[in-house]
Amino acid sequence: MIKFIHSSDLHLGKPFGRFPEDVRVRLRQARADVLPSLASLARDHAASHVLLAGDTFDQTTPAPSVIRQALNMMRAADHLTWILMPGNHDHANATELWRQVARDAPPNVILQLEPEPYALNAQATLLPAPPTERHPGRDLTEWFDGATTGETVRIGLAHGSVTDFDSSEEGSSSVIAPDRARRAKLSYLGLGDWHGQLQIGPETWYSGAPEADGFKHDKIPSALLVEIEGRTAPAKVTSLPTGTINWRRVTLDLAGEDSCETAHEAVLPSLRERALTMLDLVITGRAGPLDRVALETAIVKVAPDFLWHRADLGALGMVHDTADLDAIDRQGALRAAADALAQEAADDTLPPKAREAAQAALSHLFSFALEV
């Protein structure tokens, strides 16, 4: 009988450089808080081990503070054992990192730098497949099939993509056999690399990252609680939410006749959630110039509600009629300029860049004309 927490892809030390400084700090802190969260889950569910299936660290040479603080948090959770296996970001050949970890690690932290069986307890044996490089180029779990573990429960731990994945995180090659658990008679194969939680087979799971770091996955970041009663018993897997920052990419598709403000309000998370939400708003469809101005005003108004907010109106087409252009002017040079720009924006014979410039110019003209 063994009960453990399976997690991966903590990516401690990830800088999030494309975000503003205050957001970066908050995101980094959220990642650092994952370790106490996992320890708390383990304690709450009486798990004896936390198995981290790679990419605990974001780089091969993270800052010493990142390593030390992570080890200190693990040391603090002395009621359980942390199993650290390298991933492709912190592969086994990252000698400086793992030397430092080995030097400073507390007794309850076990490194798995070699493909050798490790007895988690008297009933369970861990078969780790630590990546030797960022792109090993081979199935490192092959050795599981012939590994000798006696009568103990066989638990595999690997990092990478399975072969029927189209792509892994950040383009690593996909080489882990999807039926490795069956072929190696594993009770459970814990995988890392894919940041969204995903079950590949009856015994094969990606735990996903406990804290999201992008808008790619729409599931709530979680860890997996795994309970295995015995060698022949199936693993009982329970998903436990862990994420604190809500990364959301929302597409707002405007049909043209809708009220843009209403549609925009409808896709926004609740006010309570917004402070911990990273919102990437992608607006598509078509809107009239007045609606667009109103939408832009609304976006500017709600943006401060969010931890981070971005609205991409690049794909929003403009639809306008005589009434819209009348808002600029009914006649004269202003109106003539608006007509010329509108015509240019709709002229398919022009290069896209020229059309975009004309459309943006028309939007500015609307904004400026309505100001005065």
Binding site: G13, E96, L97, A333, A340
Partner: protein, 872 residues
């Protein structure tokens, strides 16, 4: 409105006067007057009449008041659609305005009502078109200087053109367009420069990108350094592992030990060979010593024999040499005696020769002394003669000059005497008998004229006495003659003469004395050129040299010299004989000494050889002993040589042993050194890795990557925004310009035919802000107004006003055009063309021209009004 007449009362120079212009026509009216007439006064007064309130005390109104002060009154008779009226205003004093109908003299309006009447007439409450149409003197351009006037005229133009082409705002977007364009410009200026380059926030964003990019490159390089350091460390660790391999180390140590043992063995063998070589060398020395002893003994025997022979021979040779030396000594002594005799003979001959030569010289000196004595006597005689002659010369003043003056004086006396005689009364007697007339007892000669004195007494024998009185006609001549005679006498007396003949004698005497002195001096210079004393000295010297002279007979010098030469030759011969004898004797002596020394030496050698050879009875036994010892040492040497060769043949190769040892040693050292180097390299790499990794360099790079991505996105947004704003700005500019082109259409339509009179195919471009011409297009080139000449500029200004006037007329607002000396810079040709343009417009437009160019404006034609100035 048409102007009919103008009346100015008490305006500027028209103090206390009334100036009027009447008879202003419908078309062109030319007021052509000289400068200072007051044309500009009329212009300013009309302007004030129509555009200044009667109550105004503006500067333009005050300027109308003359120095004497008083009320200023301006009136104009005008014709309107409602009839003809007189518009009159009084400024500054007893102010008022009044409109009177001319037909009946009825007052139409007064004061403020009169002002409203005028405003209605002009058609606007503002400054009206006058500023636009009326051109003041000196106003070259199209706009006045003051901002207020500019604004007013701008409004007038806008108003005028609006009414023709429609609402300006409707066409150009008006203020709304202005604000939008301003907003676009503001937005654009926040991110770009005027030329479209990055500025403000866009530039800042771009700079952020550049800074981040630079930092990213730098940090990426550091990450690469870190990766390389990690890789290098891995390799170094592998190297260290290889170097620390125990088996390899044991193999290296074993090889080193074996090489070292081999080397020690080889070195020991070298020692044995050295000892054997020393033994061989010792035997060789002993052998050589025995041989030397044997050779010395045998040599001593030989030397003994040789020395005996040499001692005998040397003694004989020495004795023989002694005899020869004695013989040569005798020869030497004989040569010495002969040499001394020769020397004495030479001395005797030389002495005889010297004595003879001295006698000859004494005798010669004696002769010379006698000659010198004679020469001195002659010189002293010449000296005495010269001195006597010089004394005569010195005592006499009868120089040639003196004689010349005497001759001149004599000639003068003769000349004057002749003159006197020529003027005197003469008497010439011709006797035919014996009786003679006497004068003062002297017979008067016959047949020759005799000068008569003033009173001449003649005794005529037989007749009596006759006194002849002659007039004294030569008194002056006689006086001059007397003076000349006095002068002659004075001159004569200077040298002691009394008559002219004496004078000649005195002069001759003096000249002869001078000649004598010169002759004596020449003799003296010849005999004693250096003085008589020198001659005397020479004589004394000759006397001294002549001492000892005698008259004995002397041998010939040549004989004596020949005897001396023979004696000297004999001496030379004796000298050579002596020298040869001396040399031969010395040589013989030297040989004798050497042979004696050799004989002594041979004797000594014989004695030594005898000692070396020992006693004669032991010499055989000594030879046998030395031969035996030599044979024994030779045998020992052969044995030692054999042993040495055997050892050398058996010696191991020391070089090989050394090479093996060196190779083994080098291998150990190289491994040790490499290990040290690898260790140091590892330490350095670890340090570098710790430093770079400790800075979280990868994390920093990833962070920069993200920041760079965000910054580039921001920069791209600015670029898009700038492009959009620029496009908007160009669209607005294009549309507004198009609208303004339409807006300027009417004015262009009016202007084109007028402009073509001056410039064929020319066109004016208008400024969209000022609504005025801004440039001239001609010959396919555009010139700004500022670049045009003064003449062209003033022509365009007038044509533009003509065009505006026609626009007014098309609206039914007929306003006169007033030009006050407006064509100042135009040449004659252009003025004619301008007249054509004015005439063309004047067909339905009143134009009033003030000009001082009376001659030039004769060709303009038009009406000539009556100008009248009367006292009030």
């Amino acid at each position: 409105m048409k102007l009919l007449a103008l009346h100015l009362t008490n305006v500027r120079k028209f103090t206390g006067k009334r100036a009027s212009i009447t008879g202003i026509g419908d078309g062109i009216t030319v007021v052509s007057e000289a400068n200072e007439f007051g044309k500009s006064t009329f212009f300013d007064a009309i302007h004030a009449l129509f555009f200044e309130k009667y109550s105004s005390s503006a500067k333009s109104v005050k300027s109308l008041q003359p120095y004497a002060g008083g009320a200023v009154e301006v009136a104009a008779d005008v014709e309107t659609d409602q009839g003809s009226f007189c518009v009159k205003k009084r400024f500054l004093s007893r102010k008022g305005a009044k409109i009177t109908r001319l037909s009946d003299g009825a007052t139409v309006a007064q004061d403020d009502e009169a002002e409203r009447w005028i405003s209605t007439l002009l058609g606007t409450a503002s400054d009206g078109p006058a500023g636009l149409l009326w051109v003041r003197q000196g106003l070259l351009g199209l706009e006045p200087d003051s901002a207020k006037e500019k604004t007013q005229l701008m409004e007038t133009r806008r108003d005028l053109l609006s009414s023709v082409a429609g609402e300006i705002d409707a066409m150009t977007g008006g203020r709304r367009m202005d604000r939008v364009m301003r907003r676009v410009a503001e937005s654009l200026s926040e991110i770009t420069t005027r030329t479209g380059r990055k500025a403000g926030t866009w530039k800042a964003a771009s700079e952020v990108v550049d800074a981040l990019d630079a930092e990213y490159v730098s940090v990426t390089a550091q990450v690469q350094s870190l990766d390389k350091a990690l890789s290098d460390r891995k390799q170094a660790e592998a190297s260290l592992k290889r170097l620390d391999n125990a088996d390899a180390k044991a193999r290296r140590d074993e090889a080193f030990t074996a090489a070292k043992a081999g080397m020690e063995k080889a070195r020991a063998h070298v020692g044995f060979v050295t000892l054997a070589r020393q033994d061989r060398d010792l035997a060789e020395l002993k052998t050589k010593s025995a041989q030397s002893e044997l050779d010395a003994f045998l040599n001593a025997i030989d030397l003994l024999n040789t020395a005996g022979r040499q001692a005998k021979n040397s003694s004989a040779e020495a004795e023989e040499a002694k005899c020869e030396a004695l013989r040569l000594r005798t020869v030497l002594e004989a040569a010495q005696i002969q040499h001394r005799g020769a020397i004495e003979a030479v001395a005797e001959n030389r002495k005889l020769l010297d004595v003879t030569r001295l006698q000859i010289a004494a005798r010669k000196a004696k002769t010379e002394a006698a000659q010198l004595e004679k020469q001195i006597t002659k010189a002293e005689t010449a000296l005495g003669g010269r001195n006597a002659a010089r004394a005569i010369t010195k005592a006499s003043s009868a120089t040639p000059e003196w004689l010349r003056r005497v001759e001149q004086a004599q000639a003068e006396v003769l000349k004057l005497n002749a003159a006197v005689e020529a003027q005197a009364t003469t008497l010439e007697m011709t006797y035919d008998g014996a009786t003679r007339i006497t004068q003062d007892g002297v017979i008067v000669p016959g047949d020759q004229p005799i000068a008569l004195d003033a009173e001449t007494h003649l005794n005529l024998p037989g007749i009596g006495k006759m006194t002849v009185h002659s007039p004294d006609v030569g008194e002056e001549g006689r006086a001059r003659l007397a003076t000349a005679e006095d002068s002659l006498n004075d001159t004569l007396s200077q040298a002691g003469g009394e008559t002219f003949q004496e004078a000649r004698i005195l002069a001759t005497t003096r000249a002869e004395a001078e000649t004598k002195a010169d002759l004596a001096q020449a003799v003296l210079d010849t005999l004693a050129p250096q003085g008589i004393e020198t001659l005397r000295t020479a004589k004394a010297d000759a006397d001294l040299a002549a001492t000892g002279a005698n008259d004995e007979k002397l041998s010939a010098i040549t004989d004596l010299e020949s005897h001396l030469a023979q004696a000297q030759e004999a001496e030379d011969k004796a000298q050579r004989g002596l020298s040869n004898a001396d040399t031969e004797h010395a040589t013989a002596r030297e040989i004798t000494i050497k042979l004696q020394a050799a004989a002594d030496s041979a004797q000594q050698a014989l004695e030594r050889a005898s000692v070396d050879a020992g006693a004669e009875e032991t010499r055989d036994s000594q030879r046998a002993e030395r031969l035996r010892a030599q044979a024994q040492e030779q045998s020992a040497l052969i044995k030692a040589e054999s042993e040495l060769l055997a050892l050398i043949a058996a010696a191991p190769d020391l070089d090989t042993a050394q090479a093996e040892l060196k190779r083994a040693e080098d291998t150990v050292n190289a491994v040790r050194q490499e290990r040290v180097q690898v260790g140091e390299r590892l330490a350095a790499l670890s340090s570098e890795i710790r430093t770079l990794a400790g800075n979280g360099i990868e994390e920093h790079r990833d962070e920069l990557e993200g920041q760079l991505e965000a910054a580039r996105a921001t920069e791209a947004r600015f670029e898009q925004q700038a492009a959009a704003l620029a496009r908007l700005q160009s669209a607005l500019d294009a549309e507004r310009n198009a609208a303004r082109d339409t807006y300027f259409g009417p004015i262009q339509e009016e202007l084109k035919p007028l402009l073509s009179i001056l410039h064929r195919d020319a066109a004016l471009s208008f400024d969209s802000e000022s609504l005025l011409p801004s440039g001239l297009m001609r010959d396919q080139a555009k010139e700004t107004l500022e670049d045009l000449s003064g003449g062209t500029k003033e022509q365009i200004a007038i044509l533009t006003r003509l065009a505006f006037a026609r626009l007014f007329a098309r609206q039914g607002r007929h306003m006169p055009i007033i030009l006050d000396d407006a064509l100042v810079y135009s040449d004659d040709d252009r003025i004619i063309k301008m007249f054509t343009a004015l005439t063309r417009v004047a067909r339905d437009q009143q134009i009033l021209v003030f000009t001082c160019r009376q001659l030039a404006f004769q060709d303009l034609g038009g009406a000539r009004p009556t100008v009248e100035i009367i006292d009030t």
